[in-house]
């Protein structure tokens, strides 16, 4: 690549600086602080004084609840990728059609995403109530064996709107002419989808997978409000465990270690994903001067 010229360098600096400064001050600093405190045994009061090195991480590896969290998180990711994303894509394409009431449907389908976690939690606590909810024969949230799936249902309900509008925006960036050309060439709906829409939606799909996995790894609000991780850890995820240790048990050093673990897991995934999957999106459409 050619060297950037002077004015270019200035532009780069000026454009990047504000975001970079804000980010470093209010995001990176807390992360660094958390990394620091994860090496201590600390109850959060005063300053950390009891340095224990990597003991917190060692403890983590043997922590039954945490190991269970990894398994549960993995299951949620799998369910999201296999069920939630395709459904969102389907619905986005559906809403892209010329259908009567389309605008209304679009508004409606996004509504759950707009609700706060507290709202959703309250709503579904009643919907899933063992005595006065829907289908009370099913112990939605009360049975340790089914609670995770109930949780997945609520998560899908709430967040599919996000993926849907991303797919919609992506779909609308595909110029009409391409679809018209395909139609003229005699392609059917499925073929058009497979050979025109899907590939061009590629970057968007890859982004939604990325956001979906990262979101599943860091899931907190929804679980906390709906089940608190219960009953008996059956719906617990890493971030909930971290919150319990940090804000309830006042074992802030250990909680920091959990957060660093979440961070590292996400980081490894992100780096590998960028390297192997997103690499294709890095080529092309980039100006170099």
């Amino acid at each position: 690549m050619k060297q950037n010229s002077g004015p270019d360098r200035l532009a780069i600096g000026l454009f990047l600086a504000p975001a970079l400064i804000l980010f470093m001050a209010l995001v990176l600093t807390p992360i660094a602080l958390a990394a620091y405190t994860s090496l201590y045994k600390w109850n959060g009061f005063g300053l950390p004084t009891e340095f224990i090195g990597l003991d917190n991480f060692e403890r983590l590896l043997g922590d039954e609840t945490f190991i269970g969290d990894l398994g549960r998180g993995g299951l949620l990711i799998l369910l999201s990728l296999v069920l939630q994303l395709p459904m969102s894509l389907g619905l986005a394409l559906l809403l892209n059609q010329r259908l009567r009431g389309r605008a209304f449907y679009r508004l409606l389908f996004f509504a759950p995403y707009v609700l706060s976690e507290v709202t959703t939690g309250v709503l579904f606590t009643m919907v899933f109530s063992p005595s006065r909810g829907l289908f009370t024969d099913v112990l939605w949230l009360a049975d340790p064996d089914t609670v995770l799936y109930s949780l997945f249902l609520v998560i899908s309900w709430k967040y599919f709107g996000l993926h849907m509008i991303l797919y919609l925006a992506g779909r609308q960036s595909i110029p009409k002419e391409l679809h018209e050309a395909a139609e003229t060439d005699g392609a059917g709906t499925w073929e058009t989808f497979r050979h025109v829409t899907l590939p061009l939606l590629g970057p968007t799909i890859r982004i939604t997978i990325f956001l979906s996995v990262i979101g599943a790894i860091q899931l907190f609000d929804m679980v906390w409000v709906l089940t608190g991780g219960g009953p008996v850890h059956a719906s617990e995820v890493m971030a909930v465990t971290m919150f319990q240790y940090g804000f309830r048990r006042f074992e802030v050093g250990y909680a920091s270690a959990i957060s660093i673990a979440i961070f590292l897991i996400s980081l490894v995934f992100a780096l590998m994903y960028q390297r192997y999957v997103l690499k294709r999106d890095l080529e092309g459409a980039v100006t170099s001067r």
Binding site: A17, L22, F45, G46, M126, A142, G230, F250
Partner: protein
């Protein structure tokens, strides 16, 4: 802030932002010219206590010119979250809600609360002795109570009669018997909020007290070892109860105070009993369908005794509510609390049946016969144990809750419960 941010602010927010930039107020202390500001955080964010506290504060302000009391009422969970961050940042309010015990000790160790032993020595004798204990650390006073109660069984008299139970059980065996009869009569014997965990630990705590004796329990906390046969036995007794499947359907997923929760289940007559603290009648009332709860069909009996147990049937378990005094609190803060704890003012609170007062002589204002019963039982108590999830350091308390919840859900054995608690206790 960068130039760009300021520009966008001016172009958008303008006056509205300016109106929002109210001067912040964190921490109390004297603020110039002899005015004292007292910042008070409490959790009675609903009536009647919300109004009672507010009017008492106003009354105090009117007779003590130069003192300003800023009240921040918060919901329970929100309070815990906020308090955690301000205390960990070293900036506690002047007066804040406290349940005493291990959490207060942690706060004291971090230097966040004020030693008020000498400030209160002249009048602390007007309060019930059992009530001030939880707010002491190493013999010194760091807070004061305003209410104290105890945990016991609240039961539906009609359902008991229907099941053929003549009188409330006084031994554990009688209790299991009663549970069996209630189940046979078609009603859920016990209501439990499995999702909240803390109501469940009451069973284990009482059984531990009955089997090991109050001294045994206190000693275990000091030794940080619960691996003794008595505690395992307590777990076994609880397991026996759980084996009878006495709880309402879907109990693992409900909370305590929601319209379909533990209190409502009793208040609506769907379950016959709950093991709960002194606020039980009022929560049953407010969360029930009829809004009236069980009325005079509600009765109270203390936790039964266990055969061959070292504990006495009159040992009490429970807790109360109180005020902790923040380290920066001005003298007016302590004086204000003294004002709140005067007999007349405690009576003003007691008459609403929201608290069981702790100032001697104030209990006459109680209206509710059930609360009178609680007050009476307290008076007769031979010993007192604060809720375990408050008395112990937070990590240990949480472990007690978690382990007992696992036992109740059938996922942990009595031995696992004691060893898990011991493990966490030793790590503190």
């Amino acid at each position: 802030m960068t130039v760009l941010n300021r520009r966008s602010l001016l172009s958008l927010a303008g006056a509205s932002a300016a109106s929002m930039l109210l001067p912040g107020c964190s921490g109390g202390g004297n603020s110039g010219s002899g005015t004292q500001t007292v910042n008070w955080w409490h959790i009675s964010n609903q009536d009647p206590m919300l109004t009672v506290w507010a009017s008492l504060a106003k009354e105090y302000e009117s007779t003590h010119l130069g003192v300003k009391i800023n009240i921040t009422p918060l919901e329970n969970e929100a309070f815990k979250a906020k308090l955690t961050t301000v205390t960990q940042a070293g900036n506690p309010p002047d007066i804040f809600h406290s349940w005493g015990g291990g959490v207060l000790k942690q706060q004291k160790d971090a230097g966040l609360v004020k030693d008020i032993t000498s400030d209160t020595s002249s009048w602390i004798g007007t309060l019930l002795p059992a009530s001030v204990g939880p707010y002491q650390v190493d013999g010194k006073q760091y807070g004061l109570p305003f209410d104290l109660g105890l945990v016991g069984f609240w039961y539906n008299k009609d359902l008991f009669t229907k099941a053929g139970i003549a009188a409330p059980p006084s031994t554990w065996d009688d209790f299991l018997n009663a549970v069996g009869r209630l189940k046979a009569s078609g009603v859920a014997p016990l209501a439990l909020a499995g999702a909240d965990k803390w109501p469940g630990h009451y069973y284990w705590a009482y059984l531990a007290m009955r089997v090991a004796g109050l001294d045994g329990l206190k000693q275990a906390a000091i030794d940080k070892s619960f691996d003794k046969p008595e505690f395992v036995q307590a777990g076994r007794l609880l397991k026996e109860l759980v084996g009878l499947q006495p709880f309402q359907k879907g109990f693992l997923g409900v909370k305590y105070d929601t319209p379909d929760g533990q209190a409502a289940t009793v208040g609506n007559g769907t379950a016959a009993m709950e093991l709960m603290g002194q606020w039980a009648p009022s929560v049953q009332k407010s969360s029930s369908n009829s809004k009236t709860g069980l009325g005079d069909k509600l009765g109270f009996f203390t936790f039964p005794s266990v055969k061959d147990g070292k504990g006495k049937a009159t040992d009490a378990f429970g807790g109360g509510n109180g005020f902790a005094i923040g380290r920066n609190a001005p003298p007016a803060a302590i004086d204000f609390v003294k004002f709140l704890l005067s007999v007349e003012n405690q009576q003003k609170a007691a008459v609403t049946d929201s608290i069981v007062p702790i100032t001697k002589g104030a209990e006459t204002a109680l209206q509710d016969p059930n609360l009178k019963a609680v007050s009476k039982a307290l008076g007769a108590a031979t010993g007192y144990q604060l809720y375990l999830d408050q008395a112990y350091p937070p990590a240990v308390g949480q472990q007690v809750n978690d382990s007992v919840a696992e036992l109740i859900a059938g996922k942990a054995s009595p031995e696992q419960v004691t060893s898990a608690i011991t493990k966490v206790a030793k790590s503190q």
